[in-house]
Point group: C2
Chain length 190, copies 2
């Protein structure tokens, strides 16, 4: 990651000194880059279920979150739910949006580019015939996702083009969603 000495170590709300230190530390000891993120999920009836975010591991050490986070999913009435939460594919869009935003802000900070605003709108196309098993040629998942990013920064046109590329280039969720991830599922009786 390109870094630049800055007078203030806080750019875009990111402590650039700590970011630089993190880069140096992981470079020197690659195992510090090893993370395992975890959640547990429980069905609560019909289309509703809830996840609890569990402590993650970093370099073999378990790190609890500051507070507990409960994430609620449900389906809208059109999809036979009670509409008590965003549905799973909407949560996927949020994961993608949030990761593009954070990747943009962090990597802009590393380059010394101050960003004032980052906003985005995401839209994903889904054909329910996949889920309903009505057409083997229709996939179950999103067919396409469109991201419209809007950035406010005191930046040259060239820097703006660079900013627009930071999310796709670095975001872990963008990479996971566009390139795919191997998911192993095991099941047992409760």
């Amino acid at each position: 990651m390109a870094t630049r000495v800055a007078m203030t170590t806080n750019i875009n709300g990111v402590d650039v000194k700590r970011l630089t230190d993190t880069v140096a530390a992981v470079k020197a000891a690659p195992e510090l880059g090893s993370f395992h993120f975890r959640i547990s999920n429980r069905w609560t009836g019909g289309g509703e279920n809830r996840s609890e975010v569990l402590p993650f591991s970093n370099a073999g050490k378990v790190v609890p979150h500051k507070t507990s986070f409960t994430l609620i999913a449900d389906e809208p009435e059109t999809l036979l739910g009670a509409d008590n939460g965003a549905n799973p594919v909407e949560h996927l869009l949020h994961a993608l949006a949030s990761c593009i935003t954070t990747s943009t802000v962090y990597h802009a900070a590393a380059r010394g580019i101050e960003v004032q605003k980052v906003e985005s709108t995401l839209e994903g196309d889904l054909d329910l015939r996949g889920f309903l098993d009505l057409d083997p040629n229709v996939r179950n998942g999103f067919q396409n996702i469109r991201v419209k990013l809007r950035i406010k920064a005191n930046a040259t046109d060239e820097q703006m083009r660079e900013l627009a590329q930071l999310g796709p280039r670095y975001s872990p969720v963008f990479d996971s969603v566009t390139r795919g991830v191997s998911v192993a599922v095991s099941a047992e009786r409760l």
Copy 2:
């Protein structure tokens, strides 16, 4: 005259009559299966940002959610955030878990299999050297995700094996994450 025993149409909290009607309707008019899901995201400082779930479209009609949903993402302190929310990759795990759960419950209902409990634990492996641009051979996203599913149901062993396959077989997020989705990003100045 033979009397037909009134069937309960509610299995697993899912209205199976409506589910069957939905399948028939989409089969007869495939455009009814067309959905566009949308969210907007806004950076709120440092590693934090928030998404609002927008109305979705179904067969060209805009359908608002019953209430507004705000989804918060942040990074833990280890990753230079304030830990005010699950981070983007944890949200991705939630999206995956919730979709597997709902797909299991709905498709079990469609088969007349009553489920008492569905629980899962998910773990995803991530090497930060990707995001930090320290090694071109390390991907930015998850390297692997493991899902441990636990199901309680009055089901034969054969039915249990079938239940365990419903999530991977039908879940839109499972399909999106394992097979990948094309994501188009456009950007403009604010």
